[in-house]
Symmetry: C2
Subunit: 208 residues, 2 copies
DNA sequence: CTTTGTGAATTCGTTCACAGCA
DNA sequence: TGCTGTGAACGAATTCACAAAG
């Protein structure tokens, strides 16, 4: 990997491009110009070109970008070589919903496990995803070598669960609990409080 | 309202500050310094001060900021004077989960309605939220004067539903469907594809 | 002292504009 | 001609650093 800093925004856009390219492939398109991809992704053509510059993929003025090749190049850039093993902590409505998404639409997942406290679902298996009791979380995460976790747990428990699983080896957390969790330098946390996003829409739709 | 442009990032942070202040209030704290608020929000003290400058709230070097007053000031700045009327379109697991959140944790919601295609829940009322058939969506949105909508519908339907509800008067959409929807200038759209966020965590946790 | 409020400096991200190419 | 790739210009957002205040 190169050492230049890759800004988060650029990564977000690359992920979007990849998905759009994948759709285009199934629509039978074989190439696309920056202005068209820009339109689909809701960004400017110059930005598309800059972003692709960042991953050293080059197109041609005549045909733009090759859909298939570009998708692969982005994949090469984004995906870690080893597959991802994921845990979903908390299988309420939101957790179940995320499990569905992951099963149907995920990518290079090599393993997925879930945790809950509801005795009636523990030890069940949904979509190859075994459900464990939260009490066993450290043990299972170590044994299964889980590196990423999604948290959909009550806010009182989010921080302590996060601390536990990080101690057990988790490197990245996507936190849907409505609290900001704090973790040591080097651990990736994305706090995604759905009500805060909604409030943002309220603001911009109300005051513009 | 003032006419200077308010950047999205600043609004996001103000929303976070407000929430933290609300927590602090219930913990009995009456004032707070910028560095402490910064720590809780995971930003720098200078940024907190800048952000508050933007809403013209001023503290004192001796006591920092008054928790209660600052929360009110942010509210005054963020909240539209009229209450919000919200629609949730699609009551699958994710939609139901969002309805729960809205009911328990929402703010200045004056009205909430939902839409689905599942006959078995149509005409039911959950938490004062009446469930209508999607076929009636334009009529109901007009009648109830809904201005904001959350979309949790299959991706094939997202764009056309969005077009319909915007025609019926909706000004802002929070779109959880896994497609980017495009709407006319002036309509606020927040596309929030949960899998894309997850991929971002994969990237940063895998490559750093 | 410690902390706020803020102009100035800096860093970061985006867009412009054009050379080079098919 | 119409597009890409990219240096340069621009603009936005963040941080620095210090005067003012208790």
């Amino acid at each position: 990997m190169n050492l230049e800093k890759i800004p988060e925004k650029k990564i977000e856009r690359l992920i979007i491009y990849r998905k759009l390219l994948n759709n285009l492939k199934y629509e039978g398109k074989s190439n696309i110009f920056s202005h068209k991809l820009a339109e689909l992704a809701d960004v400017t053509p110059a930005q598309v070109r800059r972003d692709l510059m960042g991953i050293h993929y080059t197109g041609s003025p005549a045909n733009g970008y090759d859909v298939d090749e570009l998708e692969k190049s982005i994949g090469l850039f984004l995906d870690s070589s080893s597959g991802i093993s994921l845990a979903i902590v908390g299988l309420g409505k939101l957790g179940r919903s995320l499990l569905d998404y992951c099963y149907w639409r995920c990518l290079n997942l090599s393993k997925i496990v879930a945790f809950d406290v509801n005795e009636s679902i523990i030890n069940q298996t949904i979509y190859d995803c075994k459900i464990y009791h939260v009490n066993d979380i450290e043990k299972v995460i170590k044994k299964e070598e889980i590196t990423i976790a999604i948290l959909t747990v009550p806010q009182e428990e989010a921080q302590q669960i996060a601390d536990k699983i990080v101690a057990a080896g988790v490197k990245g957390i996507l936190n849907y609990s409505p609290v900001i969790i704090h973790l040591p330098e080097g651990i990736i946390v994305e706090n995604l409080d759905m009500m805060l996003v909604l409030e943002k829409v309220f603001y911009f739709a109300g005051n513009n």
